[in-house]
């Protein structure tokens, strides 16, 4: 059972590519600082859980197919202190996500900023993970 892949209906499909994942609960284990990306989509659902909240967004690709991306954000405690609550990101809301793509090529990203339809922007990144945005404020 040790290396069983975790596949459940409630979680976006994530595959562990190849050998063991070296992780200290660190950004660098899962996400690629050299692959920044911007995604626009509509919110499917959110999970306000520790240590990372997740926003699942439906993104339309070039051919019109809709793909659901799992976007990892910071802890709910952190997001609440930045002014977000569960009513801020309701299902159906259009969002722009700036972040970094998962290394394993799945539809997963680690978000740095999200922009809401009214133009307001929130830093939703995790802290203490070694992410590229984890430096001193510019």
């Amino acid at each position: 059972m040790r290396k069983t892949l975790l596949l459940t209906a409630t979680v976006t499909l994530l595959t562990l590519a190849g050998g063991p994942v070296r992780a200290h609960h660190a950004f660098s284990a899962e996400f690629d600082a050299n692959r920044p990306m911007t995604l626009t989509g509509t919110v499917n659902r959110t999970e306000w859980i520790n240590p990372h909240s997740w926003i699942h967004i439906d993104v339309e690709d070039a051919t019109g197919n809709v793909v659901t991306w799992a976007i990892e954000c910071g802890a709910p405690n952190a997001l609440m202190r930045r002014g977000l609550n569960k009513n801020s990101i309701p299902a159906g809301l259009e969002l722009v996500i700036d972040g970094f793509r998962a290394k394993n090529g799945s539809n997963t990203a680690n978000a740095r900023d999200i922009t809401l339809p009214d133009g307001s922007q929130f830093f939703v990144g995790s802290s203490g993970t070694g992410a590229p945005y984890d430096g001193p404020p510019e």
Binding site: R2, F27, S28, E30, T129, G130
Partner: protein, 318 residues
Amino acid sequence: MTKVHAGRIAVVALVLAAPATSLAQDGGFEPPRTKWGDPDLRGHYLPGPYQALETPTSEWAPPEGANQGQGAAFSRFFEPDPDAPARPTPARPDGPMIIDPPSGQVPFQPWATEQRNEIMARQDQLEHLDPRVKCLPAAFPRAHLPVGYNTYQIEQGPGFILMLYEWNHHSRYIPLDDSPHIDPAIRLGMGDSRGRWEGNTLVVDTTNFTDNTWPVGHGAPPEGAPGSALSTGHGVFHSDQLHVIERFTFIDANTIQYTATIEDADVFSQPWTLRYNALQRAADDHMLFEYACHEGNGRNLSLMTGIDVEAARVHPIP
């Protein structure tokens, strides 16, 4: 605190070989007192600014093209608040928290240095994974080292201090009544703490730890680095002989300086001491939010170790 003042304190800290008396540590700041005459620690606090824990004992460079651990872990966690009290700079902004031994290195026994490297090489295995990542207790002094979503609330009354830790809803009730530590057979993740006042300094003595925690570790270690090359404290472990003596002293109205001496004759070659401005007074409307740790952690543990933690069940009592 001005830069000059910080520099003066840094010099004092370097000159003193052993943990200082409260007078030299606090520079004589007189904190407000409670109605019953003790320094008033009550309130809400944020963790202090990021600072490296230790001087590494070996060299290591990340492979070219690898992600870099940025180290300045959570400086962006709290958005700048124009009304917040000014944040003092760390006591030793350029040096590690460890002030004794003066090298700043964790004084491991030689076998323990190797063990730390083994632990850090096996972070993809559940049994070796950082206990805090598994939602096990942070222990001390780690619970007072900076983590973004770990803020503090302190209550006190005549005869006790209650410290609340936001991360993973930990708390410790510290009696100030000269009572002895509990039965040595009893083991507690956060240990058994007993406190007393020495002048303006709260001294807390903690024993009876379990051995399944790390006593230090904060920030993000670079991917792939061996334990001996870290400045963050990850992989430092302890036995059930762990004994921690902490000192909490206000150095100004909004800053509590924290000094912790760590003893464990089974693992370290000598006691060692860190000093750090660990508690910064928060805004008046700050509240601790519930931090349910394990409840949402199954997915992360599965990603890291491949184990289906969510399938586990414990004994039905009740």
